[in-house]
Subunit: 217 residues, 2 copies
DNA sequence: TTAAGATATTTTGTATACAATATTTATAAT
DNA sequence: ATTATAAATATTGTATACAAAATATCTTAA
């Protein structure tokens, strides 16, 4: 006999709102009125408050005392700030992943690489972004640094829901991913680190170019 | 006639519990029983729950559904994981701080450097650790990357409340801080970055030595 | 005694009520 | 019409109640 582990309402609410934010059903800057969304989801404010706290932890919303919860809206500077963080953290994750990966994990990563390839010819960028996110996060997961995982996840989710368009062609992105994958497969830590660094650096530079900020090499 | 309550109760509760954790009045791994601590602080569970959510955001506690909130207890591996993150992020902050710092900010940093010096001859390490924390965080603040600030703050707070003893002599630490300060004063971004990297690298290596893990150069 | 099950107690999750504050709307004065 | 002020409404912050789940305690059987 095992317990039927019933899920918390707050967890359900959390996932619902998160989905709404990531798919832009709730748009950036929009206020989340508690009573309104709670009744929409058929719950009281108690589980909603717990859910909002979780979302703030992931920086998807901002809670301003006595004012309310707002879907986080990033400035261009904040985009760059987040990319600067990714540029430092993700190469670390790639290095560790290359050193530690098991064959099972490599197979899982391979699958996500294939997903990236599949979603390339889609018309909407949403699927492509999600596949890219999953590939990057799988590498962080393999690195087995929980804090790294969380910090990179927070950065990437914010960017995913806020940043319009793509910062490199799907073709180039896929090529980079393949190189990173090969380095991890071959347990070449330094290579994986370097490829990941260059992969992200190109995106920052394209972002800066797009927004007329001077890029660095 | 005006109301006295400026600040939220949840904010007060948050600060109280945070203080208890950082000063080890609440020890790592300990469970925080809601009704108990709420009545201790003279509030209901509502503001307490909000406070716990904030503490979880800062990773000082861990909330396990249906089980409760526990003061986070770090393993040796997690110490290293956090240091690896610091090693990547703080040099970035130091670089940016050197590039952007105003004269006013430099003066504020100078003051915190003096505090480090003053707390050196104290018998208990608590004051030293706090002064060190403030110096490092001021640099992150000057870098003006809010996300960087938060991530580094989270890392350093966890280490502060969990890690026993010191990883380098107060003298060496102060010497490093002075070099970092000089680089920021002179707007030498690359130097500041390098000095910060070496400063933290030495700590990681000492930690690994202490715990019998192989260090890297 | 120990192990397993039943019962009692504690603690968390959720709903709800109401006070404090923020926001909107209405009204008045310039 | 615009600005300032007051009233009305909406929304958040907090306390409280109670059900569900977890934990502790007590029984009973081997």
């Amino acid at each position: 006999m095992y317990t039927v582990h019933r899920e918390e309402l707050s967890e359900m609410v959390y996932r619902s709102i998160k989905e709404m934010i990531l798919t832009n059903q709730l748009s950036t800057g929009e206020k989340i009125v508690q009573e309104k969304i709670a009744s929409q989801l058929g719950v009281s404010r108690s589980p909603l408050l717990a859910a909002l706290a979780k979302l703030e932890r992931e920086m998807l919303i901002q809670i301003v005392p006595r004012k309310g919860a707002f879907v986080r809206k990033l400035s261009v500077k904040e985009f760059v700030d987040l990319y600067e963080i990714r540029l430092r953290l993700e190469p670390l994750g790639a290095y560790e992943a290359a050193v530690r990966r098991s064959d099972k994990q490599l197979k899982e990563l391979k699958k996500l690489l294939t997903e990236c390839e599949k979603s390339m010819n889609k018309t909407h960028t949403g699927g492509l972004k999600k596949a890219d996110y999953k590939f990057h996060m799988k590498i962080m997961e393999i690195s087995e640094n929980e804090f790294l995982y969380r910090m990179v996840s927070v950065s990437n989710m914010m960017l995913m829901s806020n940043l319009e368009g793509l910062l490199k062609t799907p073709e180039k992105s896929l090529k980079d991913h393949k190189n990173i994958f090969k380095a991890i497969a071959g347990r070449k830590g330094k290579n994986a680190e370097q490829f990941m660094y260059e992969h992200i650096l190109e995106s920052v530079n394209n972002l800066k170019k797009r927004e007329n900020i001077n890029a660095k090499d």
